[in-house]
Point group: C2
Chain length 151, copies 2
């Protein structure tokens, strides 16, 4: 699987969030080497906790596959997912998570917790990190720089 | 706050799930001593990971309050929430979680993890457990008994 190719697509989603002043995180879900779902963070514009990129993408993917189990998919996210989104990855049994850059304040795939490698849960997932890390990290940094200037 | 009163309302929601052969978990969200959102687990019928009672209730509550921050609310759930739903409670900054019975296989408010009392996250929540514990626990046991008979 061409990790960089799909991460570039997630990055394009993150850019859409950046353009509307949302924290620039994008996500795609791949099944059978095809993107079946793509989304970007819309939490502020929708005024809704659940509108993180990953949750929107998982919601769409369940509709496409017509199952709550996304067992043969791979999820690509520009930034390490938060506890909610990592929990949703667990619950939907996604086997592989690929992310760009770490989220040191809330990441649950290695930073604060590693929820995807806990023997007590009934599911585990593989983690591949650091794909297009520089670009994904720079986009976040630029976003927070822009935010500080505005404030 | 009358914990038993609101838990009874969450229990009524759980009964609705039981009747349609979903894992019987119900939830209400209370603001200013009034229920602003109520939901029950619909994961199988909707074929969607995100249709746990808590996520449906949080989604509705964000719409009612018109904000992703549910800062002055209390969430009542018949069963200890899973990693995804506990993460959503964190993300929406709900300050108090009241639940009926523990979920030893996936609970993240004390059983497998306690995600609501971790200094590394930017939010913590108080946990009140064991409200109507017997009823909430018995409903779950009866559900799995019924499921085994069917299987």
């Amino acid at each position: 699987m061409d990790y960089e190719f799909f991460m570039k697509e997630a990055y394009k989603e993150a850019l859409k969030a950046y353009e509307i002043n949302e924290v620039p995180i994008g996500c795609v879900i791949v099944y059978d080497n095809t993107i079946i779902s793509r989304a970007y963070n819309r939490r502020n514009i929708e005024k809704n906790t659940l509108k993180h990129a990953e949750l929107i993408a998982i919601d769409n993917a369940c509709n496409v596959i017509n199952d709550w189990r996304l067992e043969n998919t791979t999820i690509f996210i520009t930034v390490e997912p938060c506890p909610m989104c990592t929990g949703a990855i667990l619950q939907s049994r996604i086997p592989t998570v690929v992310f760009g850059t770490r989220n040191k304040k809330a990441g649950c795939c290695g930073s604060i917790l590693n929820m995807l490698n806990n023997n007590s849960f009934n599911h585990k997932a593989s983690i591949i990190e650091g794909v297009l890390e520089e670009e994904c990290s720079l986009l976040m940094k630029n976003f927070f720089k822009k935010l500080r200037k505005k404030g």
